[in-house]
Each structure stands twice: as structure tokens, then as C-alpha cells.
């Protein structure tokens, strides 16, 4: 399957041919999709910002709001939910770093070492993608069962006194970060693999020929060359993790002490109908992510985005 979306670097056309200069055809091809995105991507974002500034309407009924320009909503959500906001970013950072550490050697094996054995390379790649084919929720729930309070993992850890007799795993920060890391590893491994698979091994040979130790070759040659893969991999894991709420949910790996921005948005929006605060939180999350994206765009240019 194509996961070019996550690939590092840019996909340049192999053919140098002047692009056709027919504005009419180009518009006919572009407009339907662009209008669609304007209607169902841009407008909703505007709508979200509008909702985030709403105030309760005169009737005072729950779930009824009217247009206002209540910037105070933002102060309110920051004051009320700052632990959730901080937790989201700490979790996302931790899980992103962990998946980078787990993925890089794996991607290096598949993309560089396994070149000699195409069959193993293909098989390993298929196994990395395999989790995509089974429901995200089922996978997460499976971990919950494997680490449940009665599971042999927990009882073993307790008997080894790593965990106290009344200490469990499900519901802890550790468990949520574990789940987030697990679920987003493929999003990290694939762009890393794409970058490493293109790595010209002669460069490494040239490096060691010029008296660099293996560690130095890695730091001075391999790492900089695969940097685009690292950047797009971290972006592709950090963004969805920061907005996730399945892993941290009480019904899955979390507890009331692990709630993230996503959990608050879900509760406020879908359960207690507090639309303005849910929207304000979403807008804050989006703004933070946009900051990251701008950083990325600065580094690589817009044409490289797709």
C-alpha cells in the first residue's frame, strides 16, 4: 500500500516536461476537491473558532449558546484544563521519543540491512503495516486485557516486588504512554524506512574510508541524510497522539488521572454539551499543531508537503 504520505523528503517528478498551461482544465480538475475542502475542512475550522467564542443564551438552558465574542472562554479552559493540556503534550512527547527510539533500529534493519534479502524485507514491511488492518480499538483493548489487574504480567511484577501488591498497570501514565507508543509506531517506522531505504551505502563506505568510526559515520552521515524521515515521522506521530483520547480513556488504558485534551473535548462536546469550551480547547490544540507545521514548512517548503 502507499504510505507516501508519511515518506520523508520530496517526490520529484522523474520527467522534465513543461507543465501544460491550460487553466480551464486545471481548474476543472482542482475545483471540485478544493470546494469540498473549503466546505468541509476550512468552514468547520471557522465554525469551531466561532463556537469557541459563544456565550450561554438568555434562556440559561444547558446546551443553548449564542454568538458572543467571549475571549474569556480561552482563559477559562486554560485555567480549568491546564493539567489535561500539559498531560497531552508530555504524553505526546514521551510517546514520540519512545517510538522514534524503537522504530529507528527496526527501520534501519528493514531499509538497509535487509536489502540483501528482498523477501525478508517485504515480509518485515508487511508486518509493520499489519496493525493497520485490525481495528485500532481492538488492538488497544487487547493491551488492556494483557495488562489487566489479574493478568500474569501484573501478578508476576507484583511477586517480584516491582509493583506493590495494591499497584496495577492499567490506568497509569505508563500504560497510556505505552499504548500511544504502540499504536503510532507504524507511522514512525514507515517514513524512517522510506528515508533509510534510499540511503546510498557508498556514502557510509566513503565515511569510514575517511577514517570515521562507525558511531561518527552514523552521526555525521546517516543521521543527517535521514533527517527528513525523522522529521516527517515525528510529525506524523506527535500530531495524532496529542489529539488522541482512546488510549487515555477510562474504558481502555487510562483512568480519571490520565485524561488528555481529547477526553475533555469529547466529554464537553458530546456528553455535557459545553460546546464553547470544547471548541476553545480544540482551537488551542490546532494552534499548537499549526506552530509545529509552520516550523516544518519553513524547513522544507510547501511543494514538498505533498
Amino acid at each position: 500500500m502507499a504510505f507516501a504520505a508519511f515518506s520523508g523528503g520530496s517526490e520529484k517528478s522523474e520527467y522534465k516536461v513543461p507543465r501544460k498551461n491550460s487553466t480551464k482544465v486545471a481548474l476543472a480538475l482542482l475545483l471540485p476537491g478544493m470546494i469540498y475542502l473549503a466546505l468541509f475542512f476550512i468552514t468547520p475550522l471557522v465554525s469551531l473558532v466561532a463556537t469557541s467564542l459563544e456565550v450561554p443564551d438568555a434562556s440559561g438552558e444547558i446546551g443553548r449558546y449564542q454568538y458572543g465574542f467571549e475571549i474569556g472562554n480561552y482563559w477559562y479552559v486554560i485555567q480549568t484544563y491546564w493539567p489535561h493540556i500539559a498531560r497531552s503534550f508530555v504524553y505526546a512527547l514521551a510517546a514520540t521519543i519512545l517510538s522514534l527510539l524503537i522504530s529507528y533500529p527496526l527501520a534501519y534493519f528493514i531499509g538497509v540491512r535487509a536489502r540483501k534479502w528482498p523477501l525478508i524485507q517485504k515480509l518485515a514491511l508487511a508486518l509493520v503495516i499489519a496493525p493497520f488492518f485490525i481495528s485500532f480499538l481492538l488492538r488497544t483493548f487487547a493491551w488492556k486485557q494483557l495488562f489487566s489487574n489479574e493478568s500474569w504480567i501484573v501478578t508476576t511484577l507484583q511477586s517480584l516486588h516491582i509493583l506493590a501488591p495494591d499497584q496495577y498497570l492499567v490506568g497509569t501514565d505508563f500504560m497510556v504512554i505505552f499504548g500511544l507508543t504502540y499504536n503510532f509506531i507504524p507511522f514512525m517506522t514507515l517514513p524512517l524506512y522510506t528515508a533509510l531505504e534510499r540511503l546510498d551505502l557508498r556514502l557510509l563506505e566513503a565515511g569510514s574510508d575517511l577514517y570515521a568510526t562507525p558511531a561518527k559515520v552514523f552521526r555525521k552521515v546517516t543521521l543527517p541524510i535521514t533527517m527528513p524521515g525523522i522529521i516527517s515521522g515525528t510529525l506524523m506521530t506527535f500530531i495524532p497522539i496529542a489529539g488522541d483520547y482512546i488510549n487515555a480513556s477510562r474504558d481502555f488504558l487510562g483512568s480519571s488521572g490520565t485524561q488528555m485534551i481529547g477526553n475533555v473535548v469529547e466529554t464537553n462536546f458530546l456528553r455535557i454539551n459545553d460546546y464553547p469550551s470544547a471548541s476553545a480547547l480544540s482551537v488551542l490544540l490546532m494552534a499548537a499543531i499549526l506552530g509545529l507545521v509552520v516550523f516544518y514548512v519553513r524547513r522544507s517548503g510547501t511543494e514538498d508537503l505533498l
Partner: protein
């Protein structure tokens, strides 16, 4: 000795990492054969019953059917819109190119929760009834960019001289598209469609915000999670996994055979 140990470390690590990735899949698969009583938490013995009576579990098959319907519909729409954009991006010169690129990139870079809440607030503000329709609208939106990226890679690798040769050989622009461009883009379009279907079928967050009372398979699993997920969900999940693996393996085998045949003749 130290050297050979170093050589072996990486493959061993890779095997361990892959096993780690597969544990939940294997778990889900095994527990689809659990002879459950009330809950599907502890192993109580092997049975095929869950597979044979999967639709007797309330709501599973309805949710699964909805997911298929939503997946197929949004895949068709997203693939058509995305393919057109991909062709325009590679083959045509137009103004605002970077604006278009940005507009396509942003949905991929936006957390699902923001996409979901945004659409939900828009549907709420205009008073639209949530249901299958709103879910399809949402799914087309977030699949579109992925389709563009996938098909674009294929268009870029297509020699433009092939299309020029077509028009040089008296084919009108529409004939060139349907007889040459389209068949040659087909592998890219197919993988974009598969990706799009997979994304739609497995989506929970955006769906949860925009489905209203409509159930989908991930929504079913989420709702069931608080009281324990029934084995029927494991059955559906495992079956989908097996079908997907079969498709991927089939495609691989086909392309390998094709390659072999080409090489054999040469």
C-alpha cells in the same frame, strides 16, 4: 566475536520489535475462538461458535454493514476527487500552487479530534441531522489528501510522452485519458482506494463526533468497551484482518509473477 554479536543484535532486535507489533493482533485473533461466558476476558476453551453466530450478537453486523457502506461510498468519492487533483498538480501549471498544496496538507496535519469537533460544530450550527450522510462527508474530507498523495506519486512516475504519443496517434483528449492515462494510473488509484477504505473503516474519533445515532464497527467496539468487548467484535476484526492480508498477499504474488514472466521472456 564481539563483531558477530553486533551483527546479530539488529536482526534479533527487529524480530522482537515485530513480535511486539503483532501481539495484540494475535491476542484478538485467539480470543475470537474463546468459549466465552458473559465476558471475553479469561480463556475458557476453544470454540468456532463465535464465528458461526457472529450476527447474533446485537448490533455487531449492523455496525459492520454501516462501516462497509460508509467506507465504500467515501472511498469512491474521495478517490475520484483526489485523482483529479493529483493529475492537475503534476501535469498542469496554475497559480496558487502552494496554496493548493497547503490546503491538501493541512487536513493530514490536523488532529482528528479537531476535524471531528469542527465538522460537528458546523453541522450543529446549520442544524444538520447527524447520520450516515454526515459520516460520509467527514470521511471523504480526511481521505482526500491521502488519495492525492498516493495517486500523485504514480502520475509523477508516468512518462508524459505516453500521453503525447496517444494524441500524436489521433486520440482525442478524452480518449487519451481513458485509453492511456487511466489504465496506467490504475495501480496508483487502486492503492489510494485501498488506503482510503482502510482509513475510513478504522476511523473512530471523527465518526464519533459526526455519526449521531448511527453505529459503525469502531463505534460499536468503543461503546462495548466499558462493559467488556464481546467475542463477536474479535471475530469481525480478525475476519477483516484476514481479508486485508489476503488482498495484500494476492497483489504481491501477482506482481511477482508478472515480473518473473517479463524477465523470463527477455
Amino acid at each position: 566475536m564481539r563483531y558477530s554479536l553486533g551483527r546479530a543484535a539488529l536482526p534479533v532486535y527487529a524480530v522482537l520489535a515485530l513480535v511486539y507489533l503483532l501481539i495484540p493482533i494475535v491476542y484478538t485473533f485467539i480470543f475470537s475462538f474463546n468459549n466465552t461466558f458473559k465476558s471475553n476476558i479469561t480463556w475458557r476453551g476453544f470454540t468456532f461458535n463465535n464465528w458461526l453466530t457472529v450476527c447474533e450478537e446485537q448490533g455487531v453486523c449492523e455496525a459492520f454493514g454501516n462501516s462497509i457502506l460508509i467506507g465504500v461510498t467515501s472511498t469512491i468519492v474521495a478517490t475520484a476527487l483526489g485523482t483529479a487533483i493529483a493529475i492537475a498538480l503534476v501535469r498542469y501549471e496554475f497559480k496558487f500552487r502552494s496554496a493548493v498544496s497547503l490546503l491538501l496538507f493541512l487536513p493530514m496535519a490536523t488532529p482528528e479530534i479537531v476535524l471531528g469537533a469542527g465538522l460537528a460544530s458546523q453541522f450543529f450550527n446549520i442544524g444538520a441531522e447527524k447520520g450516515i450522510g454526515t459520516v460520509i462527508i467527514a470521511h471523504v474530507m480526511f481521505c482526500l489528501s491521502f488519495v492525492v498523495v498516493t495517486v500523485k506519486a504514480r502520475v509523477s512516475s508516468l512518462d508524459p510522452a505516453l500521453e503525447e504519443a496517444g494524441s500524436d496517434l489521433y486520440a482525442s483528449p478524452s480518449h487519451v485519458f481513458w485509453k492511456i492515462t487511466f489504465p496506467l494510473l490504475m495501480p496508483g488509484i487502486m492503492s489510494a482506494a485501498l488506503l482510503s477504505f482502510a482509513l475510513s473503516f478504522d476511523d473512530f474519533i471523527i465518526t464519533n463526533f459526526n455519526a449521531g445515532p448511527t453505529s459503525t464497527f469502531p463505534k460499536f467496539v468503543y461503546t462495548a468497551a466499558s462493559k467488556g468487548i464481546p467475542a463477536a467484535a474479535n471475530v469481525v476484526g480478525s475476519a477483516v484482518f484476514l481479508v486485508a492480508i489476503l488482498i495484500v498477499v494476492g497483489v504481491q504474488i501477482r506482481s511477482t509473477i508478472k515480473e518473473r514472466r517479463l524477465r523470463a521472456v527477455k
